[in-house]
């Protein structure tokens, strides 16, 4: 166990990658706060699984795009756990459309959740981490934030923004013992990617040198590495966990 005694908050942890990340952090010894936006029952399932591992966990509802509710979420986590060692900014949504068809509302909602949400959660948790003189912030970007992707102008812009935000936050907080890194997952099998048509999935598979889609566990393993002491000399980096899709 590489995260014994650590206290973590994972946003968007009720499903998909976030769920697996939360479980892996707990398997590695961390207590984990499970943030969710709408799926309360799914979040409670994750909490139960973590408690079964002998770790502490609780579910906390919060729209990460809302600054007031983010501030009170972080306060709640600090009250329950006493500190926050690890923040995983994972909450994200998609509203795919061609640029020429994309509605302003589709642009705004994805930017607000996927980019502004990372800013707000980071800002709120930094207050606590600066006092502690230590902390690990891990941002879930996406490989399309590096490569671009037709039909995802909003999502790609947000994820590329997350990569830039990661680098800047890393530079600002390094002197306080806080590291900030990003993970850029490739094509990972989750509810979100399951919605894509089969021919699109086939075309993507052809571009992956390791010749399979990723599993949420692949992302969770790298997240727990970035949350641990093993990565203490890394900051501002974006790790591609994509089977070699983008090099």
């Amino acid at each position: 166990m590489i995260l014994e005694g650590k206290k973590a908050l994972v946003t968007g942890a009720s499903r998909g990658i976030g769920r697996e990340v939360a479980l892996e952090l707990a398997r590695q010894g961390a207590d984990v706060a499970i943030n969710y936006a709408g799926s309360e029952s799914k979040a409670n399932e994750v909490v139960s699984e973590i408690k079964a591992l002998g770790r502490k966990a609780f579910a906390i509802q919060c729209d990460v795009a809302n600054s007031e509710s983010v501030t009170s979420m972080i306060k709640e986590v600090v009250e329950q756990f006493g500190r926050v060692d690890i923040l995983v900014n994972n909450a994200g949504i998609t509203r795919d459309n061609l640029l020429m068809r994309m509605k302003e509302e589709e642009w705004d909602s994805v930017i607000n959740t996927n980019l502004k949400g990372v800013f707000l959660c980071t800002k709120a948790v930094t207050r606590q981490m600066m006092k502690q003189r230590s902390g690990r912030i891990i941002n879930m970007a996406s490989i399309v934030g590096v490569s671009g992707n037709a039909g995802q102008a909003n999502y790609v812009a947000a994820k590329a923004g997350v990569i830039g935000l990661t680098k800047t936050t890393a530079k600002e907080l390094a002197s306080r013992g806080i590291t900030v890194n990003a993970i850029a997952p490739g094509f990972i099998s989750t509810d979100m990617t399951g919605e894509l048509p089969e021919d699109v999935q086939k075309a993507m598979l052809d571009q992956i040198p390791l010749a399979r889609f990723g599993d949420p566990k692949d992302i969770a393993a790298v997240t727990s590495f970035l949350a641990s002491d093993a990565s203490k000399y890394m900051t501002g980096q974006t790790l591609h966990v994509d089977g070699g899709m983008v090099m």
Binding site: R127, M130, K131, E172, S175, R176
Partner: protein, 77 residues
């Protein structure tokens, strides 16, 4: 007044590793006391905890000297 100044001075001495005699009302955190931008952010956070108050980002940006901090804190008491 003296009490606020004393408590502010103690925080500044601890945080910035300066001598108590350097912490004058007109002393600027950045120019005179060797603070960087992040140190000032941290000082404001410590004032908030010490005096059990919230200082908005807008107000925090106006706090440049020891006197600014003392006056701001007094104005909210």
């Amino acid at each position: 007044m003296a009490d606020v100044l004393e408590r502010v001075t103690k925080i500044v001495v601890d945080r910035l590793n300066v001598e108590e005699s350097e912490v004058k009302l007109e002393a600027s955190f950045k120019e005179d006391l060797g603070a960087d931008s992040l140190d000032v952010v941290e000082l404001v956070m410590e004032f908030e905890d010490e005096f059990d108050m919230e200082i908005s980002d807008d107000d925090a940006e106006k706090i440049a000297t020891v006197g600014d901090a003392v006056n701001y804190i007094k104005s909210t008491m």
